[in-house]
């Protein structure tokens, strides 16, 4: 098999926690391994505090990881020099959740996109306006948008500007950090379709962070479920949504509101909140909220075991639990 576009191995991001005693640290990401293939869309789901945004940022080295390896197009990213990293960033881009907070209100749209082109030395000064216009059209905006400022656009249009800025430097990989969560339902579909079209047209790979499981299911080839900085389960969208093997995955699926009353089923409802990452539970980190926990869960950190080429689960009871969802 060819080497994946992005390969993350045993990545850890620990932050020092002040005032919590000696050696205390917040283990935001604690040993995550995942891959994203060329042209593949991988979803990353989990509750707030699961470490999904930190993981994404560590992959792009917007945060320096504490441990582990990130290989992108065969190059180790974690040890790149600042100059090499800058060059690499034209290949790896990011789209943020809040399009307004991530666009400079004092710059015109043309300047925002032009800055990205300038920083990465793409095109000459003369042909940049042409390129900027082309990119704006690609994301469904009019060329004339270049002269206007972020506040003149609606939320959905601003997200298109954010996407245009990311695309301007011809990346192969985009980290999409909840790009549709702040948008209204009717606009959300426009942006999802745009991402889908761009993916097809440009052969982009995406790591899509989200919490709306139906959006994730629709858009992603594979899905990674994160809890307290660790991978609980990963597999193709179909494997995870039809035949989840980890109680946490099933609980997440059950928590999503269901429109069709005939599709309601018995739910696994979670009690309480995520435990503190400063002092995570021993053994399986999910056991304190798990309805199926047994005493062994406290003493043993479950390995990520493979159930198919794509499907792996970190639960010692994964063989015996019947979590399958009836279609």
């Amino acid at each position: 098999m060819a080497e994946p576009l992005l390969e993350v191995r045993d990545l850890k991001v620990h932050f020092a926690a002040r005032g919590k005693g000696r050696d205390a640290s917040v283990k935001a990401v604690d040993g995550v391994s995942l891959t994203v293939g060329a042209g593949e869309v991988v979803g990353l789901v989990g509750e707030s505090g699961s470490g999904k945004s930190t993981l994404g940022r560590a992959i792009l080295r917007l945060i320096d990881p504490t441990h582990g390896s990130v290989r992108f197009e065969g190059t180790e990213v974690t040890t790149l020099s600042p100059n090499a990293l800058k060059a690499m960033r034209s290949r790896m881009q990011i789209i943020f959740q809040d399009p307004y907070a991530s666009l400079n209100p004092r710059m015109s749209v043309g300047q925002i996109i032009g800055e990205a082109l300038y920083l990465h030395g793409i095109g000459s000064r003369q042909d940049r306006p042409q390129r900027i216009g082309d990119i704006l059209e690609k994301v469904g905006l009019h060329r004339s948008a270049a002269a206007r400022f972020p506040h003149e656009f609606s939320g959905g249009q601003r997200q298109r500007i954010g996407i245009a800025r990311a695309l301007a430097v011809n990346p192969r990989f985009i980290l999409a950090d909840e790009p549709v969560s702040a948008l209204d339902v009717s606009i959300q579909a426009q942006i999802i379709n745009l991402l889908q079209d761009l993916r097809k047209e440009l052969g982009l790979s995406l790591l899509f962070i989200g919490h709306d499981l139906s959006v994730i299911e629709y858009l992603c080839d594979r899905v990674v479920v994160l809890y307290l900085g660790r991978v609980m389960e990963m597999g193709t969208a179909e494997e995870l949504y039809r035949a989840p093997r980890h109680p946490y995955t099933r609980a997440l699926l059950d928590a999503a509101p269901v429109i069709d009353p005939s599709k309601r089923r018995d739910r696994i409802a979670l009690k309480g909140d995520l435990p503190s990452p400063v002092d995570p539970p021993s053994g399986c980190v999910f056991r304190t909220r798990c309805p199926f926990a047994v005493s062994e869960c406290a003493s043993r950190v479950p390995d990520l075991r493979s159930f198919s080429a794509s499907h792996s689960v970190a639960c010692i009871r994964a063989d015996e639990l019947q979590l399958r969802v009836e279609a």
Partner: protein
């Protein structure tokens, strides 16, 4: 027949802005019965929050002018019009007869006051009980909203609680006077789905226990399906469709409602295997600028069913059957 708990008639709310008068609500009609949950659905700018703030009369400082009737039946059976009620009268209603919870609990809680004392405040004000009794009731409320160790939690500050726990505290505060009506403005939007499910079942349970009416504002149709008895869909300051919940999902009779429903992703794995992922149905364009509303139906510029007649005047509410109403000239053509 008794009067409805809340009966909003022809409510218009206007704001004076630099660019002239903006009409946020253009004649809203809505009723909520005791024990009933009515969902008010719409996108940003549709006027759903302005509706709730108008009912609570919390728009005075923004210079809004409210016209129309907001008839509310008090616990003593007397029907009053909140639109014309004095500020002193409103103070007796708010937090007592009608309570409200908001999206972001942290901004609605006082960071410098202990949780128990904040909950007790409403009891001291409206129920005229002494400090000790109010504190006892506050602890009871914390237990009622399923906060573990209520005596201990009453002594801590809001920042020491998680988002879900803060929303529970807000609910405890809102319900301590056993209101007849709870207005919930996107109370679960900022929460994780797992915690959202907990809060929705809590609201459902407490509603039964207290017998209150709930006006639940949301943009999430899944939440509507889980919680509401009735749905009113708002667009650009008007209710464009309303019906029983099951009816609105079975037979959406306004193009906007249909658009909202069909823009939600549904997956077909067989199609994906063949590499033919169906495109989501989009609603093109975006909501109209409230300062320059379209002449007729406000949804007409985005509507694939539009006719010349749609631009002539605002469509009236058509009777679709039962209590189902739609503000679309073509409601009967939409099927098929």
């Amino acid at each position: 027949m008794t009067d409805p708990l809340l009966d909003i008639r022809h409510l218009t709310t206007e704001f004076q802005t630099e660019s002239g008068t903006v009409r946020a609500l253009k004649g809203v009609d809505l009723t909520v019965e005791s024990g009933q949950t009515v969902a008010l659905v719409g996108e940003s700018g549709s006027g759903k929050s302005v509706t709730s703030l108008s009912v609570m009369r919390l728009l005075a400082r923004s210079g809004a002018s409210i016209n129309g009737e907001i008839r509310f039946r008090r616990r003593d059976g007397v029907v009053i019009d909140l639109a014309g009620e004095s500020e002193a009268g409103m103070r007796r209603v708010r937090g007592n007869e009608i309570s409200m919870i908001f999206q972001e609990p942290m901004t609605s809680l006082n960071p410098t006051v202990k949780v128990g004392a904040q909950i007790a405040e409403a009891a001291r004000l409206h129920l005229k009980v002494d400090r000790r009794e109010a504190q006892r009731r506050a602890i009871d409320m914390l237990a009622l909203v399923e906060i573990p160790d209520p005596e201990l939690r009453a002594e801590i500050y809001p920042h020491q609680l998680s988002g879900g726990m803060r929303q529970r505290v807000m609910i405890a505060m809102a319900l301590i006077c056993r209101p007849a009506l709870l207005i919930a403005d996107e109370p679960t939007t900022a929460l994780d789905v797992t915690v959202q499910l907990q809060i929705l079942s809590l609201i459902r349970r407490l509603q039964k226990e207290i017998g209150m009416g709930v006006l639940f504002i949301t943009h999430n149709l899944g939440v509507v399906a889980e919680l509401a008895d009735r749905v009113a869909v708002m667009y650009a300051g008007r209710v464009v469709e309303q019906a029983e919940t099951s009816e609105i999902f079975k037979r959406p009779s306004h193009p906007y409602t249909r658009g909202l429903l069909s823009s939600m992703p549904v997956i077909d794995y067989e199609a994906r295997e063949r590499g033919q992922l169906p495109r989501l149905r989009e609603i093109p364009g975006s909501v109209p600028d409230p300062a320059v509303p379209p002449p007729g139906c406000a949804f007409e510029p985005r509507c694939s069913w539009r006719l010349e007649a749609c631009r002539a005047e605002v469509p009236p509410l058509f009777d679709v059957g039962g209590t189902h109403r739609s503000r679309c000239l073509r409601w009967s053509d939409l099927d098929g």
